[in-house]
Amino acid sequence: MVSLARQTLVHEWKRFAAAILTLAFSGLLILVQVGLLLGQLDAFTLPVTRARADLWVTAANIRSWDQSTIVPARSEGLFWSHPAIRDVREMAIGYADWKTGNGTRQSVMVVGVPLQPGALAGFQGVPAETLAILSHPDSVVVDAADMDKLGAEVGGTAEIAGKRVTVGGIVHGFRSNLMPLVFASPASLRQIAMDGGTGGPPYFLLKLDPRFDVATVRDQLEAADTADSYAIATPDELTWMSARFWLEESGAGTSFGFSMLLALLVGVGVTGQTLRGAVIASLKEYATLRALGVRVGQLRAIVLEQSLWVALAGNVAMFAIAAALCGVAWFLDIPLVMSLWLCAVTSLFVTAIACVSGLLSLSVLYRSEPADLLR
């Protein structure tokens, strides 16, 4: 089987290299942007995604997870009374100043990690030994990547809101993009935050009997709250809501949309021009085929096949470069999330650019008039 499209691509690789690389970079622009964005979103919502709750109870009418203030303490009884509930645990965060002996000052978010044994104890990614450290009075744990920023060292001391604490250990993968996270036991956090009787914690974490449908339970618990004193969401819902808020607030959404458009235009521009050039370079050959009885539709198929080969090569180049960039990002501790669906969508995007370019270059084919060969 002769594939004119494929053989031309191999034979004239220099001509197509520009288009292939442009496609690859159009895709990379999106892949890396979304990857960084997802990394940022993940960093922003770390406690939500890492806690072991099936449902989060927050203050009503919040737009981002970190805005929750108070859930009435009396609600806890109501949660327990639902047959699906296996465990209920308070959770709190607090904002405070961090100070070390060497003069570092830094705002931090202190996260109270549920320590009591049970289904809701600890965070995913925090090993049991580290949780054990937190049970020592006035011990805290910070992320390895934040150590420099906090001027901290393991075994050293620091002051949070004027209270002396010991940095008992480190965790990995908990570097937030808001401010450094400091993990403490709920008791330590209460001491630091000093707000004893405000009527309730900012969050309740709920663990459900797996036989119950999470969404149904959420609806029932929300319906039970006639005073509209709290809101309930799954971790996914809370993450998504916070992500949307963050995208709007930070303007990251707009800038992302803009660069996506840019990638599309540049991709179509360069790839379209290249495919067009390839068709123009072979016009006389195409015209000869037409003279011999080949239909224009068949030639169109060749041009489209060519754009698919270019798309394939562009995809391969894109993923090769993306893999290298992921390595660099991991090395530099930059949060970059490459999910499978992101790769699939970007791959589709790149293929679409190539196909649109191919379609645009079809118009040149009609210039291949066999009669023009007779002169």
Binding site: V2, K284, T288, L289, L292, G293, R295, A371, L374
Partner: protein
Amino acid sequence: MLVSSDTPALAAHGLFKSYSSGDSRMDILKGIDLTARCGELTLLMGPSGSGKSTLMAVLAGLSRPDRGRVDILGQPTGCLGDDELTAIRLRHCGFIFQSPNLFGALDALDQVRLVLQMTGTPAAEIEARARRALTEVGLADRAHLKPAALSGGEKQRVAIARALVKRPTLLFADEPTSALDRYNGDMVTLILRRIAHLHRAAVLCVTHDSRLIAHADRVVTIEDGRILSDERTGCAPSPDRVSDNAAP
């Protein structure tokens, strides 16, 4: 073929064609009658600009005459749509142009195979037929070479192989030897002659090269859009002795 033996491969009557550029109109063909029979190599000669290529395009169904009719194997082509014309060319017509117009990416064998593949030849036959066509033009040992590695004459022979591989009843050639040296030109001419005589094709060849006359069965001279003379050459024994003069 369901055509009686005395149906001409190609019959044209009263062909007129003009081009208009702006206000001025140029008459290129001014009433041409011509028939061509299978098994003959016919030369179309005449001064530059006399309308030879235009005539050939009209005869081959690549462009339409303003007036007049063209029958290919007895079938009138005037009433056919573009797709049907393409189908007629697919079944019956081969072309050789002044330049070989080969795809740079394909080797000689693939150039020929591509045509078979795109014109719906059963896959099992393609390879053997392509090789046979290349052998016929003396390029069996060059089958694996791309155009960049072929000489001008060899490229033109690949183009001929590509034209004859679908076994056309009508072969149109527009100055196929003008870019070649004497040796290669002769070789191409002999191949054309063999296609006419051996494969019983009607070969129509536009040329300025008077050396080709020695190999032709018939020479038609055109001047200023009209047929000036139509002669059979004595030297080439035509297998088809029926005389067919241009104007009935």
